[in-house]
Symmetry: C3
Subunit: 312 residues, 3 copies
């Protein structure tokens, strides 16, 4: 049964394990249908409005492509900061108005919980495409989809996280989902960028086996999946501190000789130099597949919330 | 007969009462067809170019949705200020070039009469979506459509205008249309924001019964329709003056106990706090319907100027 | 045979005379089919991504219209400078990601050779829509198409270039193509804006008859085609120097009494006052046809690189 029909997608909190696996199955089905049929017509006559109050090429384009590949159409606000907002209009009013022009809305906004606020008055389903430091649910879902696609399962995996574990929204969201599975999580970071204590506590309470370390060379040996993130310059007030922390870890082919042959390396992108480009052509680099998988997850979500997909 | 076929829509001056009613009828027909058929194909194969030299989410998106719901396609310039204009190209040259790429053009530009100038060399019909302080004809038409939809008629109504009557483009345009009907108009405003004398004179010459007052509590009792507008901060050089004037009038539920049960409250949006949000859920709030009606008026105009609609 | 199928269009260097004529033929066919059929469906189900890291209304809209007239769909980045780029993402990474969302990419970027760099990792054909001072191949191709359309041939023509021959990208590109034909080229410019010596040398080596002069009145008498360009203010550090040079040449009706009756005047647009508007309505002004021809050349290229067109 489609439990997404008519619902907003604001965070990953509301998904239980069964819903998550259902969503991955639909994404996989749509991936295969797209491959064999070229483009679909499930959303023919439907309009998606993408409202971006903070630019994001990758996310916006992948939602728009998802809609078009499903036979739908798109209207877009690429630079939302310059319009009605400036005139002081509330998100709740804007929501009522834009709802009248489309069948579903994808919104990105720099302020935490703004998309939830916007959705309150919306008469069509709203998808959160990132609300500041809070949530970006479709990113976590595509991460999960990629892990299952590459490793054929999720339960039983040993998954490492590397980089800025303190501030990284994608890390926090993915952890939140993974705790519903039987996984071992390893957190590898500079001492200043460790996963906040509340997350550690929450994971332990959920019975997740966790490890924390600064030693990547050692930790990488046991991992099935390594999720790498960018250390964001804008988080540091002191540039020298940033440079020190940033250059602590690099994934390159030499390091990978220590890893399992079938280690799956992920990265939410954009990457700077956390991963050497020499890794790109090897068998472990899965981050571009991951970006592509965003298309299938978004196709699944769009067709489900619009009630146009039934799993066979 | 379709007297709009091939014509520009630059101002509401050219519409006689018969044309106005014709347009409202087509809009109503399209509203009903859209409801029953989902989307139409009257403009299949046609391209609308939306050129916005000043951002306007609401107006642009509603035109684009109108085009798509009619089966057409859209190309758009969301941030027109940054392109050819900068290179010094004349509006007349740009018009010839863009005309070659589409079947109709919707344009917004901060300069009064710029859209008329642009239309001179256009080889396709051009719709003015707002040229500074001058005109925004589709706004007035959707206002009129909403009044007739909500009250089933226009002749015989008592219609009030509240807010910045001195500078408000939407007020001036709507007055201009309403003077072709048999209506009573009441102008309620702070003394500094009164309707300019030329408008008063013109209305009187056209035989329209008018009243002017500062007393909203008294005036509201007799109204069938109240058209509320925002007091625009940018019109004041002195902020304290702005604050004094802005806070003079507020529509809330307490005030509405003085009004007719079926008073229809309109607002071109965006609103600040002229109307309390508690009013939104009551029976008098029609401003969100009004915004939605923009879709039907724009569908009617697009299909008429492209010669694709015949009234039965 | 379609030798364009699957290829990037980065510069005009790779086109031999046969390929050029093939492309002009396809463009002409599509122009005629568009006229008779309204819109085509050769690219149904295909998505074009337009990525503009520098705004260009004319070029972007004409590519988007070309795609839509062929039955395809478009996703667009109008203001590319504000997004991922800012986060430091490499063009090569962005290319892999965007490739996953579309079937072909049109890109403009202010940096020379950036589009080539971007194309390296692209898994779909990439079209250069201008990379700074380097190339803008579809402009030259539409110039060539216009010359042949207006004069029915290219070999044997006497073609003049006027304006900023030193810096003008469009002039340099078109020369590059014309040297593959049997033409006489006349370069008319202020002494400070002469065609660079390397171009002169290269043309001479290719057996092209050339003339250089400052005297427009004299030179214009023998020309079949006159290609006029804008003197770009941004090339001058001294404004008075700019004004002196800019005002040296003006095309007006008086001057045209000296020219052949069927002189074909071209201009890549936008124009400032190099050509008086009185010329626009005369028989020699072909620059707006030229802009329109961009549509047919771009339709031809899109359908050819996507393997959807076979010449009969």
């Amino acid at each position: 049964m489609n439990r997404f029909n008519g619902y907003h997608i604001l965070s990953t909190d509301s998904f239980d394990k069964k819903s998550l696996l259902f969503l991955l199955d639909i994404s996989q089905e749509l991936k295969e249908r797209l491959k064999s049929e070229g483009s679909l017509s499930l959303l023919k006559g439907k309009i998606l409005a993408t409202l971006f109050f903070e630019p994001s090429t990758r996310t916006r384009l992948s939602f728009e492509t998802a809609m078009i590949r499903l036979g739908g159409q798109v209207i877009t606000v690429e630079q939302g900061d310059s319009s009605s907002i400036k005139k002081g209009e509330s998100l709740e009013d804007m929501s009522r108005v834009v709802s009248a022009y489309c069948d579903t809305i994808v919104m990105r906004h720099p302020e935490p919980y703004s998309v939830r606020k916007f959705s309150t008055n919306a008469s069509v389903p709203v998808i959160n495409a990132g609300d500041g430091t809070n949530q970006h649910p479709t990113q976590s879902l595509l991460d999960l989809f990629t892990i299952r696609s590459e490793k054929t399962k999720i339960d039983g995996l040993s998954i490492g996280f590397l980089g800025d574990l303190k501030n990284g929204r994608t890390v926090h969201s993915l952890i939140h989902i993974l705790k519903k599975f039987d996984v071992t999580l390893t957190f590898i970071s500079h001492n200043n960028l460790k996963l906040p204590e509340t997350y550690i506590k929450n994971l332990t309470e959920n019975g997740i086996k966790i490890k924390e370390t600064e030693n990547l060379e050692e930790a990488i040996k046991e991992l099935d999946v390594l999720y790498v993130t960018r250390v964001q310059k804008e988080r540091f007030t002191d540039e020298s501190e940033y440079l020190k922390v940033k250059d602590k870890y690099h994934i390159n082919n030499k390091l990978l000789t220590q890893a399992k042959k079938d280690l799956c390396i992920l990265h939410p992108l954009p990457r700077l130099d956390e991963i050497s480009t020499e890794v790109d052509t090897g068998p472990n680099a899965k981050y571009f597949n991951q970006a592509q998988n965003g298309l299938y997850i978004r196709m699944a979500i769009l067709s489900l919330i619009l009630g146009k997909y039934k799993k066979n």
